[in-house]
Symmetry: C2
Subunit: 241 residues, 2 copies
């Protein structure tokens, strides 16, 4: 069997997330349909993780197995012809037989985009979270650094997750400004459900002096943390293997 | 009478352009409705120029007259509450009585965005033109400079315009690259119908060695120029008064 890995970018606005759901169109099903059309056979498509409804990706990785051969250099164009314009295959690679998009992943990087202005931006609608209060990027970076390391991130997991081991290692968490766009970039060996969005919500609440990040981490309780930032600002940026 | 000027940003994707048309929703009508709701009276809204279907604006200027007073500092928020999320009032100003968005304009600046990659970008769909061939920005700037000055731009006007004086002064025309995004910025005392889009199409065709810009200008004929670049990359960026 051959194992193909695909690296995708997608605008999650019109999808119910990666995973196939009863209601709504999923990215997984949409990409699987395109692969099946190009390869002329049924395939199973495995993703590197779930993404929520409205969440985007710059570098989502998924894999599938087939006996057939199509040149990986030519595969993106063939698949993109079959895909809607809000999903795009950036790269295709032939992998070792034991490669698995989810289980081989050593970590991931997410980006969270904020449009930091009282005036909304018609061009970032659904692509960034409009946050009207001033963000001091220097202070935000000091707070972000408190997340770095191997810690119990229990406070940063939404209710409803079945996960019991809530220890993760955050490799880096930084905040940058480019005009009115503020970009949060966080990498870790793994993420809990809604972890990045709660981290961003917590940093912003702490900036307004209403919260102490160290206390939130120590509390090991979701109720101690800030609000969950909305999905439209979140991008799965890279997967490390 | 008071004269209010509004500076707008809008994503033109869902509009038939600025001007009221028989078919399709216009930006003009949409903004006029919001103003009438906020001021509680009928008004006439005058724009600085027409924009085509699918064309965007970062700094479109329009004006209207009223006897009523609303603090221009508070007006953007009041209007934005009534506007759809793809149109936004960035600024409101009280002007002299003789101000006219169109007739007082001394010039305009347009931006044209190209996504320069063989792989499409789900996040710039409808916001930039995907152009797969390499653009050498240094060479593009040499070609762009040939447009600067007071010239007859007859070759860069689409058929169907009633304009007879086709002389315009181009103040500046430059090309910049930021990753895979190539940005054309052109300012002039005025623009002919589709002029920016034909200029961009001509520069790109000339880069491939299939056209000589000087000859195109001298020809004074639309058929000598390159193709009209599609509307989705074009932004009315600024109006000079």
């Amino acid at each position: 069997m051959r194992v193909y890995a695909l690296t995708l970018a997608y605008n999650g606005k019109n999808y119910c997330g990666w995973q196939v759901q009863k209601n709504g169109v999923s990215v997984q099903k949409t990409v699987q349909n395109a692969i099946e059309k190009v390869f002329g056979e049924s395939i199973d498509l495995c993703g590197c993780s779930r993404t929520d409804s409205g969440v985007h990706a710059n570098g989502y990785v998924c894999h599938f197995k087939t006996e057939k051969f199509i040149d990986p250099q030519r595969l993106p164009l063939a698949l993109n012809t079959e895909l809607p314009r809000d999903i795009c295959v950036k790269q295709a690679d032939l992998m070792d037989e034991e490669f698995h998009a989810r289980y081989s992943a050593k970590g991931k990087e997410y980006v969270y985009l904020v449009w930091n202005s009282r005036i909304r931006n018609p061009f970032t609608e659904g692509l960034a979270w409009q946050y009207p209060f001033e963000i001091n990027v220097e202070e935000a970076n000091l707070l972000a650094k408190k997340f770095v390391g191997k810690k119990d991130f229990c406070s940063f997991m939404s209710a409803g997750s079945k996960i019991t081991d809530t220890v993760r290692e955050v490799f880096d968490f930084k905040v940058e400004r480019d005009g009115e766009t503020v970009k949060f970039t966080v990498s870790a060996d793994g993420f809990l459900y809604n972890m990045v969005r709660i981290m961003v919500g917590t940093v912003l609440k702490a900036l307004n002096g209403n919260l102490c990040v160290d206390n939130v981490i120590d509390a090991k309780s979701r109720s101690a943390a800030g609000p969950t930032a909305p999905p439209e600002g979140l991008y799965l940026n890279r997967v490390f293997y």
